[in-house]
Symmetry: C2
Subunit: 526 residues, 2 copies
């Protein structure tokens, strides 16, 4: 994910070398694999694909070496799969001696529609530096060009800026050295007896695998960063598939080692440099440290990790207390926003209350494991929080939760209250039934992150059919539109939506969207 | 120089390994020197400078590190001198953690007016790949950026494409590691008791030094190539200054080792790769192999070089004979053009006749050194050529040479006939006097190469004042317009002229313009 900018320059951070050492002990050795490009393609107008942009094959990859290219010539290479890694290509010249350098542009795209945009036209708020393109000048040919940076792509467009009128450039043998912390070679894939679900599962696997690098990245194109809220979902999907718990532990140690002096955990950390926590903080993301630790310990009990990180998890709770009134009301703070979703068009008060309850339940589970004498206190706090929710945020007349002073009825409140199991199962079923009947179709939600919670709430409320229907309408629609990996942002009612004013900045492989892996495994396995 | 494209794919070349080995024995060890940038400047509107583009200082170089740069910010760094070499700079970031790559453009310019043009707009016939700019993406800062390519520049513009809204890029310590085969540190510079001449001499030295690299390059920005006609002039200027004869020998061996199967010498060779002669041939350039060898042997007798290369020089003459009629007339050939100058707006027949005579005199000088039994034959041929010129190409009525069927009277014919000393000294003086009175001012000539021959002819005709006047009007005007080194192309009546439709493709350090060094030394030393 990326969260529109907070700047908190004055925050000071702890730096626990012992915990960082443990994070490094869990550092993965990346697996690499050199693959060849598959074919040459060109863009087509295809109304069934994202932004009406399809592809069609115009030649096999061997034909690349037949193309004599000069000023303004271009070609699109298709690797046939989403790749995260380094790009290399052989370049020669044919004709008279090389009387000038060769200059060309290399543009990487995860989805064909990205080629419809020119980076120079981008004027949105996100950094233009994310746009994956390079301008190369080579004084001598032949050359083996090995670009030093890592890219996230399926397609590579080569555009010759110039050769000279006396000779042509000839490109051949494009390869990608792809990398991940995990391999899917021996991965056992369940069969859901449903082509669409099987396809959704596979695209989820592709997404998760390509985001599992030196840490769990949010997206390998952008921001290539470890976010806590995203980690929580990636870890769950990982337990249900690759089951690489070492990488989860590494990430938890990274967050745990670099808390702010006031105890809070940063929403994300940078790991592509000396480890640095970001100066961005979010109420729910900090709390999800507790959640992620609890999910790990539930999946694979690890005493050492628990002993090391439980005190830090506790501190998140201790910091959170200042936002909880004596009556059990979570009072939102403008300086410590609750994310829930990118959209700020709905009231997040009740969702924030529910997330607090959801997480406190997991802290209690951890407290039990470690025999924390404060367990009883947590349980009292839980009761207060729940009571406030049922007494003040649930409207018995409508059978739905309301949020904020205007008593807004929105999907997020219902979903998180169901996930937090504030009401009994029967009521939860009724809440989600009403949600589907009265609040659906979902509108104005662009994140798979929020769709995940809606979908999980349907499963939790024993509405499997509705959950599968929504999954197919959301993740299935991405597959239909041409996704090889799931996207950072997708609004089914407005497929071309970009939170950044242009799809060239979109991340089309973004891990918070891979959760059908977990949902299908958890709720659809026999 | 660059000559608009010939393509002769079918030409086969010899490849004499013994001669190439000798070329390599004379390969220079390049001298390098790391220098710091001097100041920050911005462009000004200054009618006294080339294309009304001057510069003004806006800060010393230490202030660069004070600039916090983000999207669309740019700054121009001035090295205070023309540089040929590699560029390095230190880059850090300030503000929040680096949440995106930094992307920026680095643009190199020899002259300030180049910054007025955008490379994207260039649509001329010359390769856009020569435009000296790079787009850099760096995933991590701080970084020591050392660009791997060599550039030719005085000014470097850094333009930030983007950082992110959360932090700034800070550049510092820009350096150039400049290189040349020669050093001017201990060079004795004559004093001509004339500020303008001293300035012209100095700019000539800068030009020659920066073109003396692994070979004598025509221009270090573009085409960075060894041309025979340019070599001849560079060698002369070099004898009068740095006096590095090894580099001349290296270049002669390179040309001599790679003649076409028919004996002709290519107009230029590529040395930035496995040595390759170009498939471009020009009548006068091939002949100038004789001239350059004769000039060398006159300056510094070298038996080995003479023995090795005289046979190849002879072959140029033998090939040339097919273009000479029994009456001594040189008959131009469309496939083997006579260059004389870029302009094709004047008839080159008589200039070609004169160049043939000029070179044959030098072949005769070589033949005498080596006691070639064919000497007498050469002398007979010389007489025939001269007789044809005096009988058919000189108009006794006007006292000027005419050229072609239309008996055109142009400057080039007079100049080359004077340089070839076809007439006696008195007549030559009259010819050049009439040239000045009737054909001056020079119009439509854009090459310092042709201006050099005009100026030398004035000196040869004992018209020192006119020669100095022309030198100041031509080379002096470049100095006035802001030249740190002399230019590939300059038309005083049209200073913004570019043979390539845009000054960003012009080479503003081009060795065929450095010849005032030689002219002043030869004709103005006491």
């Amino acid at each position: 994910m990326v969260f529109k900018f907070q700047i908190n320059k004055d925050v000071e951070f702890n730096h626990d070398d012992d915990l960082l050492k443990k994070a490094d002990q869990y550092r993965p050795k990346l697996l690499t694999n050199k693959i060849s490009a598959k074919r040459l393609v060109e863009l087509t107008d295809d109304p069934s694909k994202l932004e009406n942009t399809g592809i069609k094959e115009v030649g096999d990859i061997e034909q690349l070496a037949q193309l004599k290219m000069t000023r303004n010539d271009h070609v699109i290479i298709d690797f046939g799969q989403h790749c995260v890694g380094k790009f290399a290509i052989h370049i020669e010249h044919v004709g008279s001696p090389m009387d000038a350098p060769v200059a060309f542009k290399v543009k990487f795209a995860e989805m064909p529609n990205e080629f419809r945009y020119d980076s120079q036209d981008y004027d949105g708020w996100l950094s233009k530096s994310w746009i994956q393109e390079e301008v190369i000048h080579l004084d001598r040919l032949p050359a083996e060009l090995e670009l030093p940076r890592r890219y996230s792509f399926r397609y590579v467009e080569l555009s010759v800026i110039d050769t000279s009128p006396k000779w042509f450039a000839v490109f051949s043998k494009p390869t990608a050295t792809i990398q991940s912390a995990v391999s899917s070679t021996n991965l056992r894939k369940p069969d859901f007896k449903d082509d669409k679900l099987n396809a959704i599962y596979q695209v989820g696997i592709n997404t998760l695998q390509d985001c599992m690098q030196d840490v769990f990245e949010d997206g390998p194109k952008r921001d290539r960063r470890l976010w806590l809220g995203d980690l929580r979902l990636q870890a769950l999907a990982n337990y249900a598939s690759f089951d690489n718990t070492a990488l989860v532990k590494r990430c938890l140690y990274l967050f745990g080692a670099m808390t702010a002096k006031d105890g809070r955990i940063s929403a994300n950390v940078f790991t592509n440099q000396p480890y640095v926590p970001d100066d961005t903080f979010m109420y729910d993301y900090s709390l999800f440290f507790i959640s992620t630790l609890a999910d790990l310990e539930k999946h694979e009990k690890d005493e050492e990790v628990l002993t090391d990180l439980y005190p830090i998890a506790k501190k998140q709770w201790e910091y959170t207390r200042r936002f909880i009134g004596d009556n059990g009301e979570v009072v939102p703070d403008q300086q410590y926003v609750t994310f829930v979703d990118w959209s700020n068009d709905f009231d997040k008060t009740t969702a924030g209350q529910a997330i607090t309850i959801y997480v406190l339940r997991q802290l209690i589970a951890l407290a039990k494991m470690i025999n924390d004498p404060e367990l009883a206190k947590y349980e009292q706090e839980l009761e207060k929080l729940k009571n406030f929710a049922t007494d003040n945020q649930f409207d018995p007349q409508t059978g739905l939760f309301v949020s904020g002073k205007k008593r807004e009825v929105n999907i997020a409140s219902q979903v998180w209250m169901v996930l937090a199991h504030v009401m009994d199962d029967e009521t939860n079923h009724q809440i989600m039934t009403k949600t589907v009947n009265k609040l659906f179709p979902v509108r104005g939600i662009a994140t798979p992150y929020m769709y995940h919670h809606i979908d999980q709430a349907l499963f939790e409320a024993e509405m499997k059919d509705e959950a599968i229907k929504l999954m197919k309408e959301y993740w299935g629609k991405m597959v239909d539109l041409g996704a090889d990996t799931f996207w950072e942002a997708f609004e089914p009612e407005n497929p071309a939506y970009s939170p950044y004013d242009s799809p060239i900045e979109n991340s089309f492989c973004h891990a918070w969207s891979c959760t059908p892996i977990w949902l299908l495994s958890k709720y659809m396995s026999d």
